[in-house]
Symmetry: C2
Subunit: 221 residues, 2 copies
DNA sequence: CAAATTATTTAAGTATACTTAACTTTACTC
DNA sequence: GAGTAAAGTTAAGTATACTTAAATAATTTG
């Protein structure tokens, strides 16, 4: 049985392992899931016993195809819910993450496929992350760049954000820094890595901590 | 903390106790929740300890205002989800009960209020059951009658059904016997309590077991 | 390369939510 | 009112998913 806990462990292992390439350590998993390292050891043994992961004591965790399948299915549910809540229920993008975090665990494949269909099989969620299709394939090709690489006097649009904390999302909403929104880089400050940008004719200073979590696409005119 | 189990226990206690009037027995609860009678004793002690119910050993269970509040909140979530899935996602009424049974436990008050608003504060769900408002009040006045009381050559419309089993709901869907649908009683057979009705110009025989779970309103012309 | 530090696991204990089996209470019948 | 059947509880045990504290393995550093 795939309980809520197991689904969250597998999602975290999949994310931290970046697909299935990297080994995931107990410490990083414990931090991600907000549980003790002892809890990780225990659950790792259980998940390994059920064929979801490969677990070598003191070495690390690697997701197996069975675990990957479940993780992607949960991610798919999460992202489709987020988009659905924004598009069909009018929630704002900083409100949907926590709701989707719960809904992803109590949605049947039947229902999520109906939602996928209703949204006309979208490719990305409201944060710009790709939505896997029914078969678990991410078809979107990454062609974005970190906002850190932006140069002065060029226009960009925001393609993806990499943080879901309330504070971060709420700040972006407040300055109307939404997905696909265009902005111009006015000034780049070398000494602290911060960026002065103009959006909707209003200028904002963004710290390095903010911009390293934002991914953009250059707009060529 | 209100876990999924606790929510289901309170929902069942509220339903079997018909609001808060009747004492609920361990046996009936065990049957409703598909667990052993021993499990009922244990959970009853826990719920009583937390002030959700009044529990007198060997006597029975009675819901308290704290428990009633939680039960109604879960029922509200269930019924709003059902209507939402039918109205906004196009699921059929026999598909929504099982989905709502899961979603009701992982929906915040914030989200369900958004759904309520989106549906324009509906009064009944797709089975005709009343939806409590944000304050927990059921405002709908019951003016339906059991289908058993139907008489020959009169027209009725279906107002509410009292069973959520897949077989029952699928059969009603199949013969297009949907909420608010009009039908005429052609013949009433006294010996087995069955009813011959006409719906969309097609005649159907409905057994007593079916009609006792259907509630109707007479259409006067 | 040995010592120290960090990472990880094991052990023991807790809470929830179940089970079956044994026992007790209540209700019913003669 | 005693005997019995049904209803309900208690006791003991299980699985999941955590915790803290102690022990062990791996890695880093002098």
């Amino acid at each position: 049985m795939a309980t809520i806990s197991k689904e969250n462990y597998l999602k975290a292992i999949y994310t931290l392992g970046e697909g299935n390439s990297k080994l995931v350590s107990s410490t990083s998993l414990a931090k991600e899931l907000n549980v003790s390292k002892a809890a990780i050891s225990e659950m790792a043994s259980r998940l390994a016993g059920q064929g979801f992961i490969d677990y070598k004591k003191y070495k690390g965790i690697k997701i197996l195809s069975k675990g990957k399948k479940l993780a992607i299915s949960v991610i798919r549910k999460h992202r489709l819910w987020e988009l659905f809540l924004v598009d069909s229920l009018g929630l704002s993008w900083d409100e949907v993450h926590n709701e989707a975090e719960k809904l992803e665990h109590c949605t049947t494949d039947f229902l999520i496929d109906k939602i996928d269909e209703h949204l006309k099989f979208p490719k990305t969620d409201p944060h710009g992350d790709p939505i896997p299709n029914k078969n678990g394939d991410f078809r979107t090709v990454w062609n974005d760049m970190s906002m850190k690489e932006c140069v002065e006097n060029k226009s960009y649009s925001i393609v993806r954000v990499n943080d879901r904390s309330d504070d971060f999302m709420k700040y972006l909403s407040k300055i109307k820094f939404l997905l696909n929104k265009e902005f111009i880089v006015i000034e780049k400050l070398a000494f602290d890595g911060s960026l002065k940008i103009e959006i909707d004719k209003i200028k904002h200073m963004l710290s390095e901590k903010i911009i390293e979590n934002i991914f953009v696409r250059e707009i060529k005119n």
